[in-house]
Subunit: 356 residues, 4 copies
């Protein structure tokens, strides 16, 4: 019942703090005889790593992952896979100011309330640095998924600026620093984020993760529903405040005739005329694309001074001068993809155990 683990059969346990010597994870339950190398994982870590452009934190971390166990002569052995990344650019000096003050919007206050102690350096365990291990684990999960399942993440909203779904182009996503599938909106976001960054502020965002090629039958009612597990997985990412599947909150405004996806036969197979369900009915995948969106709040660390208190209970204020992302949602895209991969890998194994 480790609180630092997720997944039931494809099981990931992460550990480590922002400013400790390293961070790591253990991926257990991986099927044997899958080809796996550090390079296979590095490609995803490189997508997430900080300091790649002016819109993400300038912390310099090569984020080189090392496989410490569970792989022999290039193949998984079925035993736990231990992955480790060294922390290189820790700059503890940046964080001296927050040793005694609780940063609004951060977990400083609640960690202290819960544990009566906190590693204040860079947020310690509550730092988004932990998400590097999710991305690494997601790389292992993709090996379980194989080539027939494709996961695509994109940023679909920054502030009140939403992409135009009609402009969606998968090929565009890697053409801009925002994972934006809409070239027109990408240009607008650039201008907008430069302004946000220069003003020392930050802004929220919405990410969409889409998995195609997911077979029907994944997800286990009533409390292992695929959508419930995705909701938990995405909500567990730092700064996420909402998760929706398919039509999501929009479904509250639909009539029954509009919402329920009608079914036809096409090429001899069941074919849905729409996908308001986001590929999940009764908690089980339908064979349609699985579609999840989640909202990320604006970075809480900003230049503008904010009211807070210190550990001694005195009123004070704080502003953050360290390295931070104007829109932390941008870096959440590869993390959301990784969580999708891990949840699907887990459910593929769970389905196989009971139903195949």
């Amino acid at each position: 019942m480790s609180d630092n683990s997720y997944g039931k059969l494809f099981r990931v346990t992460t550990w480590g703090e922002s400013h400790g010597p390293c961070i790591g994870c253990v991926v257990d339950g991986v099927p044997p005889r899958l080809e796996l190398s550090e390079a296979d994982l590095q490609v995803y870590l490189d997508q997430r790593k900080p300091g790649q452009n002016r819109f993400t934190t300038q912390r310099k971390e090569p984020d080189e992952v090392k496989i410490m166990s569970g792989v022999f002569e290039g193949l998984t052995t079925g035993t736990p896979i231990s992955l480790i990344i060294e922390n290189k650019d820790q700059r503890s000096k940046d964080y001296g100011d927050i040793k005694d003050k609780f940063r609004p919007g951060h977990a400083d206050f609640t960690y202290m309330e819960k544990y009566g102690i906190r590693d204040y350096r860079g947020g310690g365990r509550s730092s988004a640095r932990e998400t590097a291990m999710r991305v690494a684990a997601g790389g292992v999960a993709r090996k379980v998924l194989g080539d027939s399942i494709k996961i695509t993440g994109a940023l679909v909203q920054i502030g009140n600026k939403k992409i135009n779904p009609d402009n969606w182009d998968d090929g565009e996503i890697s053409n801009n620093p925002f994972w934006c599938p809409d070239a027109i909106m990408a240009a607008q976001w650039e201008t907008y984020l430069v302004e946000v960054r220069k003003s020392g502020s930050s802004i929220g965002a919405v990410i969409e993760i889409r998995a195609s090629g997911v077979p029907a039958g994944l997800g286990a009612p009533i409390y292992g529903k695929l959508d419930a597990d995705l909701a938990s997985a995405m909500m567990s990412i730092n700064a996420v405040k909402g998760v929706e599947i398919g039509a999501g909150f929009g479904s509250a405004m639909l009539r029954g005739e509009e919402n329920a996806d009608q079914i036809r036969i096409k090429d001899g197979k069941p074919h849905f005329k729409s996908n308001h369900a986001g590929g999940i009915l009764g908690g089980i995948s339908s064979g349609q694309d699985v579609v999840v969106r989640f909202a990320v709040k604006p970075t809480s660390s900003i230049l503008t001074p904010r009211d807070t208190i210190d550990a001694q209970g005195n009123e004070t204020e704080i502003s953050t001068k360290g390295r931070h992302d104007p829109c932390v949602g941008i870096r959440a895209v590869p993390i959301g993809e990784a969580m999708m991969a891990c949840v699907l890998a887990d459910h593929i194994m769970r389905h196989k155990a009971q139903c195949e």
Copy 2:
């Protein structure tokens, strides 16, 4: 790893189908020596039970819960509490039509894809009838919470008609058949839902569940976060398509200065100037109200014929003449409250184990 269980220490396992002889649950891990009677649970079941007004299904179920174990001379003994409710009004004849057809928006298709068999009577296991046991379990959970934690659920949106937060009045919630905290909106919804029902249609809704008196410190990072567990709990309710905490999806449109809740000292204690966080920071409760909202899609069973296929792969159409709710979201209010109670009870015990 039962897929029909939730909670880690306060652990609920539900069983039963819509048209079986009965439904039930086992609540394990309950602290000993709590006063518990069937009447304590019945009060919540009565709130959820169908057939109470013209806006909910006309199935007649007294939903009388029986305690079969775990209570001795009026007190819990620490052993598993088995709860059972008989199914009285099963009317299997109503469902003959759906034996071979997959109802759009329902789990008929996916259950068949997953299991290769399905109990088609009333949706079998996928029926919302299962939620009666969540409500019963929630009654047990409230005993664990005690009197200092208060849970209030309300319907805050039907279709595009949202309540005015300024009109919120807790006392109003039980004055109308919609759990609406806004008397003015309640009147509008009445007119609107009569129209929806008469047209044989249905409409979605949004529910808000608020827990006050929750102590700071509940929730266990990184994968036992309070918000992630709430997301999973709410998403697992039938027809739910989205979950948000505090400002939720709205936080995507906020700037850092607007979003992060500033802290002052008031009456000698930490006091937040706002609650965009919904009472949860870094996955741990802050002592503020815990605020969750979830979106419920419109009832998929409607009078209007919809395109579908049958089990043999033929195209056909279906319309539902059975007893159904025009807005299934209404009955989700006590269910959402129950899930909140169960999640909080679980986390109180988890926190006690590690940190007290």
Copy 3:
């Protein structure tokens, strides 16, 4: 993390007390489309039920099991299977004497220490009555195992009277009231147990459970080892004080040359020349018979007065006049078989999930 559940994928949760209205269990994770009827389970319950001969308790319980969910038109549906047995012959009056006294060798004292409350009627939750549900669940497990795996339980020792392994005859086991595979020893036990019963005493026993046809590869190192799970399963049975695999405690007296089972090829397949390992190496089944033995202590409820204390802390003595078994180990045979079946069913599913 229900403490009243066992198994990971084939997951059984039991509930109920000796003198409540009924006892029951929920079996979750069962593969769909298996034929299952109440009669399939009743055959095993009839083997365990009390009052069948003068060597087991005279409590009269028909132990008729009812399937309340999870089976539709004679087939499992993949949803949780709820099983219930009514308690018919509760005779609470027999137990008035033990309301305030702690019976030596029973759990009366420790339940009170743990929970501060106990259902004293017949031992409440700690009664061996609970094992009826294990036997029922074992019947479901055997459906998962199929016909190729055969489980055989036998009593191999009562007091210091051990069977002669050379006399072992599977066919003899059901020919005597002791599940004894050695006809000669069965006759001796009869005389012996009559004496034990007449003297108001009781005696311990050793049971052996053997599973043949178990495929190689079951069990998941390091903490899901097949032997570790069997040890836990058997030790959880009432009155069990020891568990061993293969040569067991005898292996402490062996030299390396004697103990390690040498391997040859026979009929084109690996063939072990002995089975000191009890069919398990490194926690994984080898394809040989899986062999487990467990020791059952003598019934603690005896006629002879014993020193004890009461709930108020006064010294007193107690003797038991109720219905009890002179050798509780006899009835443990079908229970041990059931636990073996459940553990194997669970591991078959776990192995399939990861390795097939």
Copy 4:
């Protein structure tokens, strides 16, 4: 549901192979603000480490443990504690001979059957090297137990040479290389083991682990019983073939009057006149010493050639020339102590969550 994890609230996940770069574990759920240093753990690792005398393997491993996370300024923070030990003396060359042959009594054959691949170097994951991490985790567990619980392990039998319980002297245990509490037997074992070692053979053993100061109330019926969890924990140790509690298998030979521990009042508190129960009744600790014994088979790696097959299915033979222990049971003593510590720490937290 990681198969490489144990414990429910005090949760340990181990990883690593005999000849990988390092081995490690993650200890999750540890209460915050406990003092913890590497030296606190090293003392236990030093007890287990190989090469300390002529009766244990000559592999040279300093076994220096490093704390990578979860401790800040000398105190636990409540976040996962990652522990790592480098493998220094791997000598892969020693094991070239076993690349293709299955060593009788080892897990070579079953790992290959299960996974279709195996890291043959030193046994890979199945090596007893993994137990170093149990010992490290046990050191953390002892911090949870505090000073009032004392755990004492001892070797009580080698081959058919059993200690005389009347000679038991705790102070003697660290005076000889066998953890023998009986000075007279220690001398005999020395002579005996020299003979065993010189003949290239090996011999089994029995270990006893005793915990005193354990409060009454630990253990959670029915499937989280303290004895069942201890049975699983001890059986999971490499080479263990049997586990017993208190009188154990001896209880099969006892009469009811002999076995059940009578209770008196002494110094105002309940006092048992004997401890056949091994401190556990109904799966719950009684306040008496918790007493567990387990049998360890003889080292399977011996000089004498043994019949076996190779990976290609050919009959062949094998003898082991590498570094091995004549009695692997000796080094199991600190491992058994560690498992006892971990199980107790887990149950203390579980009990607190539900019952305090």
